[in-house]
Structures are given as structure tokens and as C-alpha cells.
Amino acid sequence: MTVTPQTSEIVVRVLVQEETFDVGAETARLLADSDEVGGLGSFLGVVRGGGGLTALCLEHYPGMSEAALNDLAEQAVARFDLAGCTVIHRVGRLPVGAPIVLVLTSAAHRAAALDATRFLIDRLKTGAPFWKREEFSDGSSVWVESCAEDDAAAAGW
């Protein structure tokens, strides 16, 4: 029987969850699950403080958010020479300093891992159904507007 390498051998792990995640454990898991890895790239998004911000509330479209992240992961696999990738996005109320999103990629060579990491976070910002509302210490809150810089970054790929 001839075994042909299949795209399905590439490990894709996508999660949308309220709970936090463990960067070390996710790194170890991706490394253990994929062969001939020379490098892992990652981006970890956290709630940035300043201006009286106390928390972000992240709303999503259940079902579509997971599908959109899976679609982005498949696009990354198709475009870059990856061994695997993991995308975890949190929802709910997240205080300043809390992790929001993790993009983790593995590849034989560093360029593919770093390119794919950037592709995934750039596209994810405007291409998956998540919405952020900022909460401030004075009790006010405001929905985050989409930003032209993010649109340009997503369109640049």
C-alpha cells in the first residue's frame, strides 16, 4: 500500500472557550503531535491596560466562530509549509492582563512558522465573528470599533 502524505496529517487544533489556556502545555502538545519540527512561532494576545480600562467583554457567534477559525487554520496550512497549528480564542469577561488569544504554529523551518503566525493573527482580527466591548473604571463601556490598520493588515496577505 502506498502512503501519500496528506494534508490531514497536519495537526490543526481550534478552540473557543471561556477558560484560560496554558501556553506551555499547548506548546508541548503541538510539538509532541507533529514530526520533524524545527521551530514554533506564536502570538499571545492579552488585555492591554491603560486609560482606565478594567476588562474586555468578548462576544462571539457560537458555531460560526469555531468554523471561521478552522477555515483560517486550513488557509494557513494551504499557504505555508506547516507541521501543525493551534488557535485558541477566549470569550466572556477578561480583566486587564488576561490572555485573549493564542496562535501557535509549528514547521520544519522558521520562516513558515513565523509567516503563518502573522497571517493567522492578522486575518483573525477582522475575519472571525468576535466582538470586544471595553469596560472602564468609571462604569462606562464601549464597543471596540474596527480599525483601518487591522483591515489593511488582513488585506495584505
Partner: protein, 84 residues
Amino acid sequence: MSVTVLYFAALRERLGKSSETASLHDATTVGEWIAAQGRVDPALADAFAGPGAIRVAVNKTLADLHAPLTDGDELALFPPMTGG
């Protein structure tokens, strides 16, 4: 025929509802439904007045105003996404 309509984030808050069931004629596109609904729901019409302000998904896939709606579809309307 009928479709489920979902609203998210600032649009959900603005309209004061997160979902509704819409009865509509056959062969209606997303844009046609929004135009018809806007005539009976001024808040929805207002929300769509700004260019490019609202995004559309049909059955959990991004779509545009020309997408056709068929019985049982899930139509979602929401502001530009701000994830990550």
C-alpha cells in the same frame, strides 16, 4: 418560508433583540429582506444606513447582500468583527 435572524454585539444592543424568526416570500435575497424589514423596523434601517457598517452571514458563513435566503436558513447580522 421562514428564516432565523441573529443579531450580535452593538447591533444586538441597538435593536434590543438577539434573534427573531422572519417569514418571507420565496426567492428573497439578504438585501431584499433587509430593505423590506427596514420599512417596518426603522432601527434596522438606521443601522444599515452607514456604508459597510453591517456584516452578513448565512448559515454561519460570511455572505453579502446578494446571497439568496431559503427556508430554514440562519441569517446573522453584525458589526465589523474585532477579534484577537
